[in-house]
């Protein structure tokens, strides 16, 4: 410290100035050296000339500085004059107003003029077919509102359990391969909630429809009496369950078909003998039903089906009758 004091205090102004300049040059040379290192590294690594572009292409991308155009030389408000034609009412609307217009015109939101228009049209229009068509259109048009889309999805899932693929697989499982094609297979598959029906309704229903209660949906099958998805035992069990032990397959009383009359009668008899008092829910269409006595019985018969034409006196007989409608049923043996 002492030495420094001595040295610095003894300096005159010119010397101080020289030192200051020296320090300054040192600093500048430092900066130059830094730049040299930087450039050298860039050259050796090969990225020094990367930002080089030839002047011709630079000309193309020059910034335009003229009134009325943007920096790319484009007219900047040209889109303002664009007009769109509404697909619904075919008016031409300014592009900036098109989205709000479409919303109103196609009927999204609360004050949808389309729904109002439809209501007016359907109330005025007495032509039923046309209004039907419009309804149809409304159902199918699920592009525009979230709610209807959801509805459509729900509808789909409702349909799903009875989709052709599934019913086919069930058919296969029930062993009805080669059975006559059922015309009502796809048309009438909604299902009925049996709990809401009165006894009279039940009876009439069961004389015309299959009526087997599905394990999954708890609804009754609404197909014809000979629907291939369910076996005759299942139908019989449902009738026993719903109408009491004296009930039988309606074919027995109605005589729907001459060919199957005696068979049905014998079946009814057998069912009366074998199934009296049993109040089990019908074995469902899936093979994974719980093991009650009825179920195991029906499953056994299902498996044995190919041979059942010869074995007499089993309830599984009914399901095999469709395969062989012509030969006379072996009813004398057990009558």
């Amino acid at each position: 410290m002492k030495m420094e004091d001595m040295s610095l205090s003894g300096l005159d102004n010119s010397k101080l100035e020289a030192i200051a300049h020296e320090i300054y040059t040192e600093l500048v040379e430092d900066a130059c050296l830094g730049l040299c290192f930087e450039v050298h590294r860039a050259v050796k690594c090969g990225y020094f000339f990367l930002d080089d572009t030839d002047p011709d292409s630079m000309k193309d991308f020059e910034i335009v500085d003229q009134p009325g155009v943007d920096i790319f030389g484009q007219v900047y408000n040209q889109w303002k004059n664009k007009e769109c034609v509404c697909p619904n009412c075919s008016r031409s609307i300014a592009a900036s107003r098109f989205a709000p217009h479409l919303e109103k015109c196609l009927g999204m939101g609360r004050n949808s003029s389309r729904i109002a228009n439809r209501r007016i049209a359907s109330s005025n229009n007495l032509n039923k077919s046309e209004s039907d068509q419009e309804d149809n259109d409304d159902i199918n048009d699920n592009d525009w509102s979230y709610g209807s889309e959801k509805k459509a999805k729900k509808r789909k899932s409702d349909k799903n359990p009875n989709s052709p693929r599934r019913s086919k697989s069930l058919k296969h499982k029930n062993g009805e391969i080669g059975g006559n094609p059922d015309p009502f297979k796809y048309s009438n598959s909604a299902g009925i909630n049996y709990e809401t029906l009165g006894p009279e309704e039940l009876r009439t229903l069961l004389t015309t429809q299959c009526g087997v209660i599905s394990e999954h949906t708890k609804k009754m099958c609404t197909r014809s009496l000979r629907c291939p998805q369910h076996t005759d035992e299942q139908r019989r069990a449902v009738r026993v369950y719903l109408l009491g032990p004296s009930a039988s397959l309606p074919e027995a009383e109605g005589g729907v078909e001459n060919d199957s009359f005696e068979v049905a009668e014998s079946q009814a008899l057998m069912s009366r003998l074998q199934w009296d008092g049993s109040s089990d829910i019908s074995p469902s269409d899936s093979a994974s039903s719980k093991a009650s006595t009825n179920n195991s019985e029906s499953r056994k018969t299902k498996k044995k089906k190919p041979h059942l034409g010869l074995v007499s006196g089993t309830p599984g007989l009914g399901s095999s009758k469709k395969k062989k409608p012509k030969p006379p049923p072996p009813h004398p043996q057990h009558l």
């Binding site: 420094e4 100035e17 600093l27 040379e29 900066a31 730049l35 450039v39 050259v43």
Partner: protein
């Protein structure tokens, strides 16, 4: 002469010790980038490199070519400001 060199050494030491040298360097760098000195020098570097050939450029070549130009290109305002700061520093530490 010996005394002079000694004095310079002490001043340099002081500059580094106090961190003033770093501050000055940072200030100079910022100012030089701001005024476009760096871009000018880079353009000059490009010329030099193209002249010598990309493969044959060495750091020594660059330094030899660039430093005189770099020194000359520093704007007067930057030079004045820097010198002013150095003088202030020297005055502060000369009074000690």
């Amino acid at each position: 002469m010996n005394k002079d060199a000694q004095m310079r050494a002490t001043i340099n030491q002081k500059l580094i010790e106090t961190g003033e040298r770093e501050r000055l360097k940072e200030l100079l760098r910022a100012k030089l980038i701001e005024c476009g000195w760096k871009d000018q020098l880079k353009a000059h570097c490009k010329d030099v490199i193209k002249e010598k050939g990309l493969e044959h450029v060495t750091v020594d070549d660059l330094v030899a070519e660039i430093t005189p130009k770099g020194r000359a290109l520093v704007p007067d305002s930057v030079k004045k400001e820097l010198l002013q700061r150095i003088r202030t520093f020297l005055a502060q530490h000369a009074s000690l």
